[in-house]
Every structure is written in structure tokens, then in C-alpha cells.
Symmetry: C2
Subunit: 378 residues, 2 copies
């Protein structure tokens, strides 16, 4: 269980196609993982996730701890049965929300004291808290509790986060090994280090030495430039174990996915497809469209004629623009569904290209066609 | 085209099972018609409407005139292709929105001057305006432009509305006959008269004398008691043509549908299933549930074990309650889908019972099981 196999590799870029075995099925990589924050990929039904070939989805430990809480999920026998999703699930550790959402009160080597973003109630998070909550969730892949630092961060601050991330990874692993069922769930380590090469290398060395079944790269896509992100990936590409899956956390912008795959990344996740979808912004082969725009009012063509999703097979831009302007829920559904399918398909097509031996050509063609101002990082 | 045939009738109540032929298919009555106000049944995809056996849906002429406007819909070749719905559509005349939504400025025999509820812009509505807009929409069934009066209304006010409704029905029919294609679209008359028996009888006599292909009963379900509504239906049941479909406008509350069918009604429409669904209120065989309620937090049963909808076949109340509490869009989708299927299925089951000759027993069983405080009229 949880074995990973690279089945093809691009000789030019190093991009990999692989297979990761989990209790809920084999994941074919590279893969994009939709985010189901509160046990729901926003506006999307589980059957629709299957339809667009979502192989694995994410759950957020911090959010699920607050609502509905561990007792309700335990009562359902875990997150899979609670939300009626029978394919693999990856849960984050809650560490990222400390950085992004919760009102942080105090952070020490022991753990984190913060206040809920929902009702202000106090909450203590730690590696042990995270492992126990992720055990209740019953995800296939659990993540170590880590410290993600903000961008920009001084070298000193970033170093402190790297030190603490290693300490917490050790405690996460110890707790996981003693309490969680390693046949049903595995644990991935997380590499931090902001945009500092020395810290990235040190974190990678310390974390990979612990022998996890997979490794994530955290603390990117938090405000740094695309070039800085790509540089960090290049630095790490040389030192991350070849035989383990590599997961770039929080990345979902189409060009970032392509460039990540070219740098040996196997797994991606991001709220971008659904968040943009709810805001009537869609990604298509030629770039980005604001579907509220008047220019679409009478366009009798699909969002993307290359796309195989329900939205593109059934509705015109004229109709979709109308839904967007009126704020109809159906618009949120159809745009989210398309964006997810579009993003999942990038990884699928990249995989096919890697196996067929023409990934560099695929990448070049994609980048040439995809015309976006590139101003939004994922 | 547009022929209606009663294929079975309950000898006790007079409830009818029938078939109405339209250019987009045969409608099996009694039938509940979901409302697709702005060319979207809120939160529901066309393929889901087919899945729950929606035979016909409504469009609202006033709303569609404002957004996206007749030019955009004409550019798509009508409402069917605009929204990708290939089954029958009925459009209302816009008259009801004058009463419920728009800021009425002036009403004369000529027509209505009002202000848009969207941007306050001025709008002149008339029978001719309504027929032309419904021609652009290309609905299978168009409705006469009528005057619906508020409840309570004096006899004098209600009489004025009846007089004007007849006048406007004549003009609607004249305009329709000279401009609309009667092979592709038909026109239904509307009977008004508030809760006054003499006015209902007079309106029915005047409207049915014009020889429409079907007749609606308007101006009910606007605040009067259930008993008053049932009394008006009883009064009309004796005088409406037996060989034409009868449509009770704006009714969707489960008990009202059953009682309407028992009084010879063939068609119903209401926003209740979707509006309640978006508010996490659902109808089930045993009555009404507020799905935000804490009592559902750990219930591992479906909303309604008798229901065949996607929601009931796949999700527990525990999960659905969580979606409701968190305000997840998926909750709006799943509750709306269930409520629509539940309401459509009432009409389906009633039809089966009428054909099988046991409608009174079906009605008695339904009413005995359905336990609701009955305080909301549809």
C-alpha cells in the first residue's frame, strides 16, 4: 500500500508519469486534486467529480475540526462515507490555516494557540492534535503539521519555521506511527524554507531523512513571483527522492502546473478553479475569460471548444454570460465544473505527453496558446 | 398539436389523468412544473431536470425581458436553445410580476407602466408586448396578459381586474392569432376573480367563451386561506371545460397540489421547492424539515427513504445538515433537487392512483402521513 512507481519520465525536463497505490484506488500522476474544504468541493457533486475524472480530493483538517467537528465525522465512519466520496482523499494538517485564516495568538515549539475564524473560540493545534484529527477523518494521505511562514519573510524567520517544521514532522511521525493505521493511511512530510535556497535544501534534507511515503513542498504560491517559485522547484528537483511522489501545495494556476510538472512535481491542489468559477472567471485553452463581459453576450460558442466537460458540451457563452450577470447558482456550478475539468485535464494531457515522449512539445504548445497576463499567482 | 385528452378520471373526486400534446413532447398530467425564472431552474442543471422527470418548466417573461433581453434570446433562436432545454416550456405573461415585483406606476385599460425591480428603468407592458415577447421566447404554451389583484381586495377592485383581464385576453388572443405561429405555440386564458364566487364564475364564463387551448386559474395562492382556495376551485370545477387542461398558477405546497388534483386541476407551478431548498427547508413524506436543525447532526438516514432522488440515494441527513449550517452551495443544489423531485413525484403518484382507480385512498394516505403545521400557503 502507498507504493509509488514512476512509469515514464521526460528525458529533457525530468517530468514524471507515475502511479500511487492507495486504499481507495490508484492515482495516476501528474494529478490535480480539487479542494473540498468543508467536505464539499464547492458547488460540485461527487458524481460530477467522478465524471471529470477527479482521482483524489482534499479535505481541510482545520475547517472540518470546527465544522462539523470530529464527533459528527466519526459518527459517519470518516470523511469518505460522510461526504459519499469513495476515491482517495488527502487531508492537510491545519498548519496552513494558522497562517492564512485563523487569528494566531501564540506559536511555540509546543504548538499553536489561535482563535477560530468562525466564532472566535480558542483552539490549540499541535502535531498530535493534527494526527488524531486526520485519523478521525480517515484520509488516505495525511500531512505533517508544519509551519508555513508568510511572504516575504526574513531569512531568520524562515529558518525558524524550517527548524520548527522539522521538529513537528518528527512528532507528527511518532504520533502517527503509534496511533494511526498505516495500512489505511499514510503520512507525507512537508518541506519549507520560503525562497531561500539554503533553507529549502536544509529542510529537504531533514524531512526526507525521516523516510515518509511522499513529500510536499509547502510555503510556495504565497505571493512570491512565478520565477521565484520555479527557482525553488529547480533547487529541490535535484535533492528530492526520485522514488517518492512530490506534491506542490496550493498550486493550480495552469501555467504553474505545467512548469511544476516540468520540474518533477507529481501532485497539485488549489481552490483556484472553484473560487474563480464562483466569480465567473474561467480558464480556457487560450487563456482567461471574465464571463460577465459584454463581449460574450451573443457568442454562440462554448467556453472552450477543446473541452469535454458538461458545460462546454451543452451551453453557449451567451447563456453562461447571462447566468454570470444574474448571479445564478447554476453559473457557479457550470463555471466551477469547467475550471476543474480544465485543470484536471492539463495534468492528464501532460501525463499522456510524458508517456508518449513528447512532453516538451506539449508544454511549448500549451504555453504558446495560453495567453494570459499572468498577473495572478495561484 | 396542443390537443388534450383525459385518459382516466376518479369517479369520486373528479381528479383527472391526461395527456397534452406539445411540439416538444407529450405532457402527462397531473404535472408539477418547476420554475426557471431567469432561464434557469435555480441551482439545477437541465440534465438533472430530466433525471427527476420534469416534463415541462416555466420561464418568466418579465424577468427575461429585463435580463438577458429579447435580442440575446432571439440570437439563440429562442428560450429552448438558449438554455439547452428540449422539453416543453410554458411562459407566463409578465402580468403577475406587475403585482408582485415591479414598481407599478400606472395601470389603465391600455396597459401597465412600471419600473424595473433591477435598475428602476421604465417599462410599458401590454397584451401586445407580452405576446410579442413570448413569441421571441418561443415557449410551447404562452399565457394571456392578465391583471392579478392583491389579497385581500374589495369586490369592486376584484371586479375591475376581472373586466380588464377579459379585455386583455381578447387583445392577447387577437395579437397572438395574427402574429404567433399556432403550430409551435399555443395560448392559455387566465381566470381571475379573487375569492368572490360571482366574479370567478363571470371570469370563467368570459374567458372560456374565447376558446383557448387551456385555462389557468390565477389570483389564488396570494395570501388567502387554504379553505378559501379550495372553495374557489370547487366553484370553478363545475364550469371549466372538461376537455381542456386546467392550470392552477403559483401552487406548489404538497397538500395544495393534492387538493387541487382532487378538484380537477391538471397543472401546477411554484418556486416553493427551489426557494425552500436554498433555505435548507425540505419536504418529505412525513412533512417539513428544517435541515439546519441540530437534531439532524448525527442522523445517518436519508431525507426521505421513500424518495428516489440523487440526494436521498446518496447522502445522510448528518452530511446534509452540515452543508446547510455551512451555507455550502452543494446544499442548495441537493435540497432543491430533492424538493423538486418530491413535488414532481406527488403529481406522478397521483396520476398513477387516478389511472389505477384508487386516488381517494392515495390522497387519504398522503394527508395522514404528511404532518405539517400547514401555516405556509404556497
Amino acid at each position: 500500500m502507498f507504493e509509488f512507481k514512476v512509469i515514464a519520465q521526460c528525458p529533457v525536463t525530468g517530468a514524471r508519469a507515475g502511479e500511487l497505490i492507495t486504499p481507495h484506488g490508484i492515482i495516476h500522476t501528474p494529478v490535480f486534486m480539487p479542494v473540498g474544504t468543508l467536505a464539499s468541493v464547492k458547488a460540485i457533486q461527487p458524481r460530477e467529480l467522478e465524471e471529470i475524472n477527479a482521482q483524489i480530493i482534499l479535505g481541510n483538517t482545520y475547517h472540518l475540526y470546527l465544522r462539523p467537528g470530529s464527533e459528527v465525522i466519526a459518527n459517519s465512519g470518516g470523511l469518505h462515507s460522510f461526504m459519499n466520496w469513495n476515491r482517495p482523499i488527502l487531508t492537510d494538517s491545519g498548519g496552513f490555516q494558522v497562517f492564512s485564516l485563523a487569528k494566531l495568538q501564540k506559536i511555540t515549539d509546543e504548538g499553536v494557540l489561535c482563535r477560530s475564524h468562525i466564532d472566535g473560540s480558542q483552539l490549540t493545534m499541535s502535531p498530535e492534535w493534527s494526527m488524531r484529527m486526520q485519523r478521525v477523518l480517515g484520509s488516505d494521505i495525511a500531512m505533517c503539521f508544519d509551519q508555513c511562514c508568510e511572504f516575504p519573510a526574513t531569512h531568520e524567520k524562515a529558518e525558524e519555521a524550517v527548524r520548527r517544521t522539522t521538529l513537528w514532522a518528527e512528532r507528527s511521525l511518532k504520533c502517527f506511527n503509534s496511533e494511526n493505521d498505516s495500512e489505511r493511511q499514510t503520512l507525507f512530510g512537508i518541506v519549507q524554507g520560503s525562497v531561500y535556497d539554503d533553507l529549502r535544501l536544509r529542510s529537504a534534507e531533514e524531512i526526507t531523512a525521516m523516510g515518509f511515503k511522499g513529500y510536499a513542498i509547502g510555503g510556495l504560491s504565497v505571493g512570491e513571483s512565478h520565477e521565484a517559485m520555479y527557482h525553488s522547484l529547480d533547487v529541490l528537483n535535484g535533492v528530492m527522492p526520485e522514488d517518492k511522489p512530490r506534491y506542490l501545495m496550493g498550486v493550480g494556476y495552469p501555467l504553474n502546473i505545467i512548469e511544476g510538472i516540468a520540474r518533477g512535481i507529481d501532485m497539485f491542489d488549489c481552490v483556484m478553479p472553484t473560487r474563480n468559477g464562483r466569480n465567473a472567471t474561467v480558464f480556457v485553452s487560450t487563456g482567461r475569460l471574465n464571463m460577465r463581459g459584454k463581449s460574450h453576450a451573443n457568442e454562440l460558442i462554448p467556453l472552450d471548444s477543446d473541452c469535454d466537460c458538461y458545460t462546454c458540451r451543452n451551453f453557449t457563452r451567451s447563456y453562461l454570460r447571462h447566468l454570470a450577470v444574474c448571479g445564478e447558482i447554476l453559473g457557479s456550478e457550470l463555471f466551477s465544473l469547467h475550471n476543474l475539468r480544465f485543470t484536471i485535464r492539463i495534468a492528464e494531457l501532460a501525463r499522456q505527453a510524458i508517456i508518449a515522449g513528447n512532453f516538451p512539445k506539449f508544454m511549448e504548445d500549451f504555453k504558446e496558446k495560453f495567453n494570459d497576463d499572468n498577473s495572478i499567482s495561484s
